[in-house]
């Protein structure tokens, strides 16, 4: 049996710049659509697994022999076969267990610095394969989880490790790029769940309403709810301990949320402009912005976290510099693009209108999120 490597170890080693060869054996279509993306460049060779079945010697000869090879496929089956073929040809090879499926599910917890003596502990759980960010906030023995992914065990385990009880679960909006773990996590934790679909959407879920300006208390801290229509009509911003702003898909480190998913980018664009100008205006420049997504690994900071200082974003994000509503809305309308492939079905699942088997949800979620408005900023510093 050939050895294997898990996603966490592969990310850690390739993020650190270790010299490895990544051999991706998926078909051309899957390889073009979605790639493994470490923080440092990783030499990647693409040879579909069926070439190893047909021409094993020719395929093996295409793989550089000077470094350890890690073999990746969609679910870990074909890559195991190829890794075994390479190992029996005398190569140093390991199989990436679980493949891109495991990569898409993996959550990397990163602690956000909140300053000495802070009563608030902020953990960002980075779903590297999707570019989705969720949060666990802890104060004393209580925790609140925001925008959780479907793999809810990660949050339950982290809370248990920190000795905290999850007392509230919230989504900043009805997500359309991934299936929310919110209802399931709330049920498992015995905590209330909050999400607001906004007007025009039927929400078939039992939720605790979050009024604009209300507070979610936990431990010695509290989260203030700020209604923030734009990306969706029911979006909220959650301000934790007066300094950490969970900005959902309203504001990212490199752009703003797309207001075109409802089919009327001008109407939602006007709402987004009002949110970005009026709702954010009272917040000081040193507010720490913690978004629900990022567009490229270049947005991950040296400390491993995706975060921005509000003052910097006011200065650097092109859409944040547009002072006129008309110009802002024009930019949003011009940047409108088709909704992601499984948008409708994910939305229906998150609204509680449809129950789907786990395999279907997994298929819908393949690939990276596309939640930012298309602009120079949202295209990211690296394009990808």
């Amino acid at each position: 049996m050939v050895g294997s490597i898990g996603i966490a170890e592969l990310l850690a080693r390739s993020d650190a710049g270790e010299e490895l060869i990544l051999l991706d054996v998926r078909n051309d279509e899957e390889f073009a659509a979605w790639r493994f993306e470490p923080r440092r460049p990783l030499e990647t060779v693409h040879v579909p697994y069926f070439e190893f079945i047909e021409e094993p010697d020719a395929a093996t000869a295409r793989i550089p022999g000077d470094r350890e090879v890690v073999v990746l496929c969609a679910k870990g089956g074909s890559s195991e076969m190829v890794a075994e073929m390479l190992a029996s040809a005398g190569r140093r090879a390991r199989n990436v267990s679980g493949g891109m499926l495991a990569y898409g599910d993996h959550l990397e917890p990163v602690r956000i610095r909140t300053g000495a003596g802070s009563e608030l502990d902020v953990w960002q759980l980075n779903r590297r394969g999707k570019g989705c960010l969720s949060y666990l906030l802890r104060s004393g023995g209580e925790a609140v989880v925001v925008d959780p992914s479907r793999r809810v065990e990660a949050y339950l385990e982290l809370a248990a490790e920190l000795g905290a009880k999850i007392v509230h679960v919230a989504d900043t909006h009805v997500h359309a790029d991934h299936v929310s773990g919110g209802p399931e996590l709330a049920r498992r934790a015995g905590a209330p769940y909050s999400v607001d679909a906004g007007s025009g959407f039927e929400l078939r879920r039992t939720v605790r309403q979050l009024a604009d300006g209300s507070a979610i208390p936990f431990g010695a801290s509290a989260i203030r709810v700020i209604a923030a229509p734009g990306h969706t009509p029911g979006s909220v911003l959650l301000l934790a301990g007066d300094r950490h702003l969970l900005s959902g898909d309203t504001l990212f480190v490199g752009g703003v949320g797309r207001p075109d998913l409802g089919g009327d980018p001008a109407a939602w664009g006007r709402a987004l402009f009002a949110t970005l100008t009026r709702k954010l205006a009272p917040l000081p420049d040193d507010t720490v912005v913690l978004p629900a997504h990022y567009a490229s690994v270049a947005e991950i900071g040296a400390d491993g976290a995706v975060s921005g200082r509000l003052g910097d974003l006011r200065r650097d994000v092109p859409e944040m510099r547009i002072a006129e509503e008309r110009a802002f809305v024009e930019a949003m309308v011009a940047g409108a693009k088709p909704a992601p492939a499984a948008y409708e079905r994910i939305l229906r699942a998150n609204l509680g209108l449809e129950d789907a088997p786990v395999e279907s949800m997994t298929e819908w979620e393949l690939g990276r999120n596309q939640c930012a408005a298309s602009s120079k900023a949202a295209a990211g510093t690296r394009g990808a």
């Binding site: 899957e30 697994y49 069926f50 070439e51 079945i53 089956g77 298929e363």
Partner: protein, 81 residues
């Protein structure tokens, strides 16, 4: 001209291609092989594989439901001369 059938429902890759290759390489020219799979990734996989296998020609690919209501991907291959 004979039509063989290969049921690889529930199998994940590389099993569908490994089994289809075994069948195709042993078939007579002109014979057909109908492969039924449940993995959506089998669609681009079969398209890519026939480019590297000198014996197989991809005649048809379709998506349908099996008797249990499960979505299945049917690939019809012909053994080349």
């Amino acid at each position: 001209m004979a039509m063989r059938k290969l049921d690889v429902r529930g199998a994940k890759c590389p099993i569908p291609i490994v089994k289809a290759k075994k069948e195709i390489d042993a078939m007579a020219p002109g014979d057909l092989l109908e492969v039924t799979a449940t993995d959506p990734g089998s669609v681009p996989d079969f398209q890519g594989w026939v480019k590297t296998n000198k014996n197989a020609l991809l005649r048809d690919q379709r998506t349908t439901k099996d008797e249990t209501g499960r979505e299945v991907y049917v690939h019809v291959l012909e053994r080349k001369a």
